[in-house]
Symmetry: C2
Subunit: 329 residues, 2 copies
Amino acid sequence: MTLLRSLFLLVAIVFPVGAAQSAEPLPSWNDGPTKEAIKAFVQKVTDKNGADYVPPADRIAVFDNDGNLWAEKPVYFQLLFAIDRVKALAPEHPEWKNKQPFKAAIEGDMKALAASGEKGLLELITASHAGMSTEDFEAVVMKWVETAKHPRFERKYIELVYQPMLELLDYLRANGFATYIVSGGGIEFVRAWSEPIYGIPPGQVVGSSIKTEYKIVDGKPTIMRLPEVNFINDKAGKPVGINQHIGKRPIFASGNSDGDFEMLEWTTAGNDPRFGLILHHTDADREYAYDRDSHVGRLDRALDQAAQNGWVVIDMSKDWKQIFPAKDQ
Amino acid sequence: MTLLRSLFLLVAIVFPVGAAQSAEPLPSWNDGPTKEAIKAFVQKVTDKNGADYVPPADRIAVFDNDGNLWAEKPVYFQLLFAIDRVKALAPEHPEWKNKQPFKAAIEGDMKALAASGEKGLLELITASHAGMSTEDFEAVVMKWVETAKHPRFERKYIELVYQPMLELLDYLRANGFATYIVSGGGIEFVRAWSEPIYGIPPGQVVGSSIKTEYKIVDGKPTIMRLPEVNFINDKAGKPVGINQHIGKRPIFASGNSDGDFEMLEWTTAGNDPRFGLILHHTDADREYAYDRDSHVGRLDRALDQAAQNGWVVIDMSKDWKQIFPAKDQ
């Protein structure tokens, strides 16, 4: 763990989580109705004398990760990790050269990879994410996020987190909220770096998972990762995953795609004070612009029903002063 | 939730969790090597200048529940709950009168129930624990723990928690530990009352579970409980459950049976400071005396290997001044 801890510390220096709150919270958010709505909600549920007061133990906030806390284009970063991992493992698997989806991954042929469908992607994920201990997997992920770079921004993927969302996480925690990640991505993939990057410890990460098995390996108690899906934490799976891990219904949910619809729906149902937040990617210049027709992060039904459900929609280009943390921070 | 909250408050008054620490922690523990070993470990890992210092984020303590935080005789309390629940549901299920294991449950025939084996018990659990929303189940459990009484002690089951263990939970939390329950029992059964009784919130309860499903019921977003096993959090399942929920290896594990062996083994492997604790039931007078031959809470292999693994064994009759909280507390 020593190497990992050093990496954690390095990262923590680059992105100081929980940095001193300025007098004005959410400094990277432009003034306007979105920022005001967030602040009004927080003030309402923390006002001990108000009718909408919520005790700290019930101030649960859940955040989708891909496209919501960090970017997700051109494709989910975890898929890029899986492709890099398959390339690294390819010498041990000569049979992959002529077998899809591995051939496509090795050749970087994203069209052929997409054509392999959900089945192909799952095959790629299990082959690249299983067959090792949880500790070894964590080390592999940490090495990747510390070295791999995004093709357009030429920055590490963990530098492509959204500065305004980091501030929102800090703001909620400063007001007694517990912040959770509820991701369709792999729980152990996100956990490897969630604490230094987001200030969210592994126990507050909910995600998709493969099965694991406890066994003694070379005399050492080990949790091995198996090539079999355990749980898909997406769509109607999100409320199930939240209930399984947190055991309470959140009062604040933040997402950016139709995969977050049920999480938003479950969180905001009822009359007591609850908050739903949708990040609409509208900024092709500074980040990306996409919604209804996107193959990654498709936002259609949730956008249509946002108004009637009272969900607040972030217009990225209008509401955010800054997208990513400053390079020389 | 209003009724539940009132119940929570009532219970919280009966058992004040986190009550003011006296100058001497662990007042219900007799002086001796067991108490000294616990205190020495806590002092060691919290000493910032010591070689064995562990930062608060990694001070994870896990506790088995049945026979470890509360009693488990004559049989697991959750089984008594299941039997009471089957009796209550029997009028809607006339077919149960002549069908095992339901017939045995309705007639209170524990021998016939035991003869139905693991398969029969699972059938009883799924029939009595599923087919309703998580909220309705929580209400049913709370009503039961507030009314049902233990046959020997004639006290509510939630009054049969171990006073010395309540003090140990408080002591660890006062020293920056996060305390988790890791139970072979049902996660939602324990969660219903873990926060007021143990000071452990639902998100820090790990347990066995049945599958659940998110759906709209009568226009209301609901998580329904399905009659199908999801995960058995026992034996080698405990490290898997811990990894799934907490994502870190604990440094302190406390159990009382062979079902806790792998949790203790995984927690205490390695050379860095780690603590394994086994509760040995040796007090037939004040509670129960059992170990190797018990059908509930069998303690055999873990007892044999305690010394070589450095696990500290609590001798209930010698180490504990008091077993349960005072009646008029």
